[in-house]
């Protein structure tokens, strides 16, 4: 019955200790040759928070995310997640630690179905051995059913029932973004990193996405870092905002503080006096 749906069990039944996501970035510096993409940035994200990272194009937002998720390795500084130094871990190890992400440019397998794409994310939660799976023993079967159940609950939550068997390549852009979110959720991450989840969406798709994020964060306490350009969305859903400009941290605070910060206004709107 619809009355009892839209509540993924991996979200409701999650023990408090599995939700813990304390991220501490200290003095991080990333440069490509002479270009410094991220300059001595500090950022602390606490369990249950929705932190937004904003900044003009080229400010270093995606570079920062790529450092956290192991795509880039910073030259200096430390990234500590739940007390563990993850600065030099590889992407696949970070998934094990509990960091999931979506991408600015969709990184799905376009030739596979939505369900297959999401099933891949369950790989890290599979416990059976290769040989057992070859024989498809009852325990393997049971586990597969459990994984499918989890995926179906996510599909139901994200309202993707009508596309579950379609190939990702045939979907509209907004839907692909939703599939990416679904895949990231299937990892059961402690920290979910979203790189411009609203880019290229129409108003209705944006409204749906906001609803999903609010539900995930507000109701089930999933910790998130969000990079986004749409200021109205960021201001209405983020609890804390960090502003980057040319790789440097320009300000940090709650939405009210940020929108009143003169430095931030200057970075976004330009220096009014300079024009005169």
């Amino acid at each position: 019955m619809k009355a009892f749906r839209s509540r993924p069990s991996i979200m409701i039944n999650r023990p408090e200790e599995d939700k813990e996501a304390e991220l501490d970035i200290r003095n991080l510096r990333l440069s490509f040759g002479g270009v410094v993409a991220v300059r001595d940035v500090d950022l602390a994200v606490h369990t249950g928070e929705l932190t937004a990272v904003i900044g003009p194009n080229g400010a270093g937002k995606t570079s920062l995310l790529n450092c956290i998720t192991g795509f880039y390795h910073p030259q200096q500084g430390q990234i500590i997640f739940n007390g563990k130094d993850i600065t030099n871990l590889h992407t696949h190890q970070l998934v094990g630690v509990g960091i999931g992400r979506t991408f600015q440019n969709i990184e799905l397998f376009p030739g596979m179905t939505v369900l297959a794409n999401m099933t891949l994310a369950r790989h890290i939660h599979c416990h059976y051995s290769f040989w057992k799976s070859c024989l498809f023993l009852p325990e393997v079967r049971e586990e597969e059913i459990r994984h499918r159940q989890i995926l179906e609950e996510i599909i139901d939550f994200l309202e993707m029932q009508s596309i579950r068997k379609q190939t990702v390549g045939s979907l509209p852009y907004g839907m692909m973004k939703r599939v990416e979110l679904g895949r990231a959720l299937a990892l059961e991450p402690r920290l979910l990193i979203l790189d411009e989840p609203f880019a290229g969406m129409n108003l209705e798709e944006k409204e749906d996405m906001v609803r999903f994020l609010l539900e995930l964060n507000g109701r089930w306490g999933l910790t998130m870092i969000l990079v986004e350009h749409d200021m109205s969305i960021v201001m209405s859903i983020a609890r804390r905002i960090m502003v980057l400009n040319f790789g440097e941290k320009l300000g940090e605070g709650n939405p009210d503080e940020i929108s009143a910060n003169p430095e931030v206004i200057k970075a976004y709107l330009g220096d009014a006096q300079a024009l005169e």
Binding site: K2, S6, R7, E153, Q161, S162, E215
Partner: protein
Amino acid sequence: MDKTAAHKTKRHQVTLPRLLAQNAANYGDAKTAIREKAYGIWQKYTWNDYFSYVCKTAAGFAALNMKRGDNLCLIVNNSPEWLFTELAAHALGATSLNLFTSSIADELAFSIGRIHSPIVVVQDQEQVDKLIEVKDKLTQVQKVIYIDPTGMTSYEDDPWLTSYASLLEIGEKYMAEHPEYVEGEISKGRPQDIAVMIQTSGTTGVPKMAMLSHRNLTTMAAQWVEAANIQPEENWISMSPPAWIVDQMWGMGVALGSAMTMNFPETPETVLEDFRDIGPSILITASRFWEDMASRIRVKISDATWVKRKLFYMGEKVGRSVVEKKLHKESIPWPTKVLYRFLKAAVYNPLLDRLGCARFHSAFTGGHPISPDVIGFFRAIGLNLKQCYGLTESGGIFQIQPDGEVKLETVGRPLPLTEVKLADDQEVLVKSDANFCGYYNDYQSTEAAFENGWLKTGDAGYIDDDGHLLIIGRKEDIIRNKSGDAFSPDFIETRLKFSPYIKEAVTFGEARPYITAMINIDLGNVGNWAEERMIPYTTYMDLSQQKAVEDLILEEVWEVNRQLPDVMKIKKFVLLYKLLDADDDELTRTGKVRRRFVYGLYIKIIEAMYGGLTSVPVTGKIRYRDGRIGEIETTINIISVD
């Protein structure tokens, strides 16, 4: 006959909740009552589950103070919760009214206010938002129950709103305190109590609310079980909105009466996929559904491989000829029989399976007349598609085509225990226990709806030699010829327009000895047809006056005449030299013909058709796009159909 008698006794004492209780007692957990697709698989509810959910919901309603005689408004989609909440209201002796989920807030407020519904059951946040928007007009509404909790987090503190899940909890608690209450209320229900109200679309003024009693619905159910021989656990897929009569008469009537299974699709977007999963055994839908399906098949086939295409076209041709022969009870030569068998295995059955239509014993189309090409196509590939007729006030569909007697133009014979006759002015009258009890708070309309116990359908028709009813149209649209016989221009024109070569048609004949028609050819299709045959033409006017085109249309009119009763046959027609156009005021902006205006404008041509001429010179005006008015001089031929 025994079967009818059994139903007869049963339906006179029974209410809908009691039917449900009987099914729970008879079938318990052994048979499936409801199936809903959720999480990608079909979840089932047995008759025990069904009954227990209804009881819990009813107890919840009782805890919220719902009493016998109250009204309950539902604004829900097709889902098990719809059945549970609606039957729960009936269990307490309340009456239900379903509204469309697509209605705007003010319409909802008006209807809810009109029946003083103290509780409103809504589907989701979208409906909640609408009600909150007009909350100041809904002073009598004490509680809004929402089914789908998606996106409702921010509303959780609003005491006006309660989720269906918590209603069930409230109900369980109430049942623990008052264990006998709900069953006691169910046994107090009487068959003549009003169970369901259905809003009928009024063409003028406020919509009317037709009231159907338990007996109306159980009678309709018994008639269908008998006529269509419905067995328990046959599958119905619930697709049409609960605010319409079809799913009401099925969900609240036939499904309970026959113990068949109600299937609910996963989401509105997945209906076609879910339809295929289930393979329903019986279905009533609008003709649109079948027309869409037919065109989808044709598109797919045109993309298929050469072998498949050839097989498909051969299959269709052979199928049509076999169906035609069977209808006229002619014998089929054995080579065709063998070929038909082969095609059935190689083409028809796989195709039907692909569509989810492999398990139909009957499928019905109602509402607007269906294109003969479409119904012919489905029958050719072995789908038992038939036509039916009914209205909200008659408790649903009461007229269906029997197997093996599917004539394109009729809507078949009445169900058992239903009498149909014609009034002097050819209005169709129906008498049955399923006829509704009247309009809510509208004595005048109720009086006007009946004549000596017969329900006036408002449609004109007649009964052919085989006892089949033929509906010719709304009574107010009926025109009489010189000898006083009624005909419906719309009826004839609709059938003419089924031809791909006819774009628009206007028929005349009021107070005239016979019927004539003015036809617009379809420039695209007739143009292609002419090109294929190397017939040169320049403009629309030129093409419409070609001898070959006249012959082509003559054949089409001939075909239509074959389906029409004698008084409605077209005797003469002309192919108009221009398309009827809204810019020339000949059509309304929505594309309907302005009959009187057209009559006045082309009176010379029309008089010529009745004057025995073979051609008539005309000067017509044409308005160009830039507003200039040009003149056309031409002679048009009058074509007789004999």
